[in-house]
């Protein structure tokens, strides 16, 4: 009887796992490598949520400091990057709360609003946005448009569609359920679509651009 070969069950180990283990053991070079890998992403996330460059710089520094201090508590149940994003999101939301003392800012607010959930603009985008505007103009429109979204929607959209986190990773980073992420993401996408249509919609003949 031939021996049954057990299938090779080499699960792919994320390269961060080794770096995190080294950093935990006090290897500063390994920690610096992790910083290099994620500093831009963390900065972008913080800037998207706070819409403020100085805040985003502070948050990025604070998030890495927190991660460094709490490295021992990182269990490796999630990806290191997701854990880091979670720290940065919490710092960013805290910063927003401080800025708007009269208004609470949390992932739970704004979910009641129906604005943009029902599409109203049915014009095609022609020509493509890239053909209608140069890069600087386009970036300006995209910034202005995402700024108008409630923070809870903006954050979900940023993690999923800008930073390409999976739905599960986004849920983990935000402390939300998967269905909650999906519902916010749909509304964020629809609201952005509706707002961008004002710029990109095909003009009717005789209508000013």
């Amino acid at each position: 009887m031939p021996a049954i070969q057990s299938p090779v069950t080499e699960e792919e180990v994320h390269p961060d796992v080794a770096l995190v283990a080294q950093a935990k053991a006090g290897d500063k070079v390994a920690f610096e490598q992790l910083v290099r890998q994620y500093e831009r992403q963390i900065f972008r996330v913080a800037q998207h949520i706070t819409q403020n460059r100085e805040d985003a710089e502070d948050i990025t520094q604070d998030a890495f400091l927190k991660a460094y201090e709490k490295l021992d508590q990182f269990q490796g149940n999630s990806k290191f990057s997701t854990w880091l994003v979670r720290i940065a999101v919490n710092e960013s939301l805290m910063r927003l709360r401080k800025r708007k003392t009269s208004k609470t800012v949390s992932m739970d607010e704004d979910v009641q609003t129906e604005e943009g959930s029902i599409p109203r603009d049915f014009a095609e985008w022609r020509p493509n946005p890239e053909q209608q505007y140069n890069q600087a103009e386009l970036a300006d429109i995209l910034r202005k448009t995402i700024q108008g979204l409630p923070p809870g929607f903006r954050t979900v959209f940023t993690l999923r569609d800008v930073e390409n986190l999976s739905t599960e990773e986004t849920a983990e980073a935000l402390g939300l359920s998967v269905p909650a992420v999906k519902s916010r993401l749909l509304r964020a996408r629809l609201q952005l679509r509706e707002r961008l249509s004002r710029y990109f919609r095909q003009r009717q003949e005789g209508q000013p651009a």
Partner: protein
């Protein structure tokens, strides 16, 4: 599938989380409903335009400053 159903499946459609049957229903519906076709197309364009354009550029100068600040906070150098 009606327009409301389509809307509720829209995100799953883009995230490739729909069953082949439902994907087909989406295609059938949009083939006969111009409004839903536009919503589907322009929502797709919305996602793509944000993916393709980095709206907050991190300059080399900013990145270096940030990196130095992080390392000096964490490790003190």
């Amino acid at each position: 599938m009606n327009c409301t159903d389509l809307l509720s499946h829209l995100s799953d459609y883009f995230d490739n989380e729909l069953s082949p049957e439902l994907r087909e229903e989406v295609r059938t519906h949009t083939a006969g409903c111009q409004h839903c076709k536009v919503v589907l197309d322009t929502t797709h364009q919305t996602i793509e335009v944000y993916k393709d354009n980095e709206i907050y550029e991190v300059s080399t100068e900013l990145r270096e400053r940030l990196h130095t600040a992080i390392m000096s906070k964490c490790i003190g150098r």
